[in-house]
């Protein structure tokens, strides 16, 4: 018999353009389930869960939930908290105090890892509940799933931006270096080449973080392409590195996970190539727009994001737990997919980088196989959003805490 009780949902990590489509999927499916009495939204993910900052999602009105799926960036707020042992125990206490029997965590690898740890703890505590991870990341670096919701829209933005910037660089006969998100996995950087049709189209050179670059070959390749086409566009991952040297970065800061904050490599490379070629070098950094510039939302991505949220609820209510929803590609043209599941332990702590056969032999671009894989994911929206959309915010009906303050 299915578990009767409350459900909670949270969003974690870097937001995407479609993360609220997953939230809408969770809410709308949960409304159909007799097992789920209330659906609590944890504000700022794990932080809100620990602090009992919950809102009552069933009280939000239908039109708002329909509209919120197009709002970029976590409508519930997000966090970068990696829960420690004490945090995990507290989370269990919160689940029990609020009779939470279903937990859906929309996030990337760190969130899936947290969800798995909670799942194991629930078993040792004999608290019967279902925990399901909902995949989300612009980096596309979760294993097993065909792709990650969030990637398609970020890829569509990055590929479009590079085409546009290329028109500007071509008009001047300039060289242009463009910096793309992605510390370890080059899916997004590779996607910048999706708009390329002929050799003279940009990007002429594209460097994924999976490769280390020989500085002499790099400059020779720049020279050759510039001489051939009269302009030069180079896209680089923020994790770009030359062989036998450190990752280029201008920032000495670290983020909440202790990773060095990246950024600045495009500027450094632009200066270097400018000096070498003797033509004006410029750089652009697509920055945070890669995860929120909703004008570039992909319809396939919106559909996938909604589906993984919807599927998480249905799978949980059917008794599955300690799993993450995955996308299974069924056909490429037209693009069709189904949602499946995989155990959280199979994805937690693992990163899917771009395999060798999707990177060209010269190590400065992608192969046709990469294009075939990624192109279906960047379909445009059927109806584009208006000029300056008024994105709704959730009304955020609060749920009273039951445990009181929590000191971290």
């Amino acid at each position: 018999m299915a578990l009767q009780g409350n459900a909670a949902v949270g969003q974690s990590g870097g937001p995407t353009m479609v993360i609220n489509a997953s939230l809408a999927g969770v809410i709308e499916a949960a409304r159909e389930m007799n097992e789920i009495e209330h659906l609590y939204g944890a504000l700022n993910g794990m932080e809100g869960l620990l602090d009992e900052r919950f809102i009552d999602l069933f009280r939000e009105n239908d039109e708002l939930i329909e509209a919120i799926r197009y709002r970029p960036s976590s409508a519930l707020g997000t966090c970068r908290l990696k829960p420690n042992e004490q945090d995990l125990k507290r989370a269990m206490e919160v689940f029990m105090a609020h009779n939470i029997r279903y937990f859906f965590y929309i996030g990337g690898d760190d969130s899936q890892t947290a969800c798995h740890a909670l799942s194991e703890l629930a078993q040792t505590r004999d608290w019967e509940m279902s925990l399901v991870g909902v995949p989300k990341t612009v980096d596309n670096d979760l294993v097993i799933t065909d792709n990650c919701p969030g990637f398609g829209s970020a890829a569509r933005f990055a590929a479009s931006a590079v085409q546009y910037l290329a028109c500007d660089a071509e008009a001047f006969g300039n060289l242009e270096v463009i910096e793309i998100m992605g510390r370890n996995a080059g899916w997004l950087t590779g996607a910048t080449a999706l708009g390329r049709r002929e050799d003279r189209d940009a990007p002429h050179l594209c460097y994924l973080p999976e490769v280390t670059v020989d500085p002499d070959k790099f400059l020779a390749d720049c020279h050759e392409a510039y001489d051939k086409y009269g302009y030069l566009v180079v896209t680089v991952s923020e994790g770009f590195s030359f062989a036998e040297s450190e990752v280029a970065t201008t920032s000495g800061k670290v983020d909440e996970f202790g990773h060095a904050r990246l950024g600045g490599v495009a500027q450094a490379l632009g200066d270097m190539v400018e000096e070498e070629l003797g033509v004006r070098g410029r750089f652009d950094r697509l920055g945070n727009m890669q995860r929120c510039f909703a004008m570039a939302q992909s319809q396939v991505d919106l559909d996938e994001a909604y589906a993984v949220g919807d599927s998480a609820v249905r799978r949980a209510c059917a008794g599955e737990t300690d799993v993450m929803i995955t996308i299974q590609r069924k056909s490429n043209d037209p693009f069709e997919f189904e949602c499946e599941t995989t155990s959280l332990s199979s994805v937690a702590g693992r990163t899917r980088v771009v395999p060798d056969q999707l990177i060209n032999d010269e190590q400065n671009g992608i192969t046709e196989a990469f294009v075939d894989y990624a192109r279906p994911l960047i379909s445009p929206r059927a109806e584009m959003p208006p000029a300056l959309p008024k994105y709704p915010r959730l009304q955020k009906f609060p749920i009273a805490p039951k445990l009181g303050d929590y000191q971290r």
Copy 2:
């Protein structure tokens, strides 16, 4: 009687998202004119004119000209050449050698200045011809005209990007500083506030280059807004400066006009506010996307850009010369405009900054009057462009030089 002969058109300075709509307007109107035997496109503006790098625009096919108007960034190529006395003389020789009786120069203030100088020279040389300036600039800083084609689309991009980045900053409870193009005139920076509907919407603070900022008040305003809304979005012009200090810039480089290359102020301010508020600070620089991210093209802007190109040809063939086409606003809702002319001497060398009454009393935002002025200019396109449009390039049928090499 109207002058019979050839016409030439060039594009100059920083491109815009709609500069080729003006080119299409020139080409399509010129085709209708019996006076115009051939229309030459000068490649890279004044540079191509001096070097006789001309293409035959009447040989380009109709569908391509229809399509090229949506291609961002100068299809003829652009330049930043400010012609000296010798250059101007050479240009006259080129006009005479090729029987060029009409010259249309699509550009900003520097281009209008060059066009005016050529106009005066033609008179002293007794070379009867008509020279008409076609306004273009994302900065919106030309005087007399209601607005400049190129501005509306750049404003739509910047306003949209700020709304999107705000969703991301709000999800984290971060502070975010966003750097906007504009050295002296804050039209584009002010336009970042066009999507704001309530006090908690971004940008909370918006600094135009027309104001100098007191550092203490700046930090106090940041503090207050962050405490009130739980996140903070600040937009700043790249020409941002604190009272009694230099413009912040990380670049020691200068451009072709001897101006310091700007950039880096958002990062510097982000670091400063991060330290003061003790929350994570981020920055984004909209960069060159502001003039080429064609997904954000404004329909009004496309219409205006086409109209000024079309009008330039008709006015020239009706005998006007030494003038720039201007936009006259006829009504605000629906937005309607007409093209008029003003003498080139009335616009050359002048910059229209944002007047005091469009900047709020606190000097950290804009007034309703600014919104009323700018909002009609950022209308979305009726039909949005596809995912990764294949923008056409001109086929570029060359015209044989008549003068031979030119040593600058």
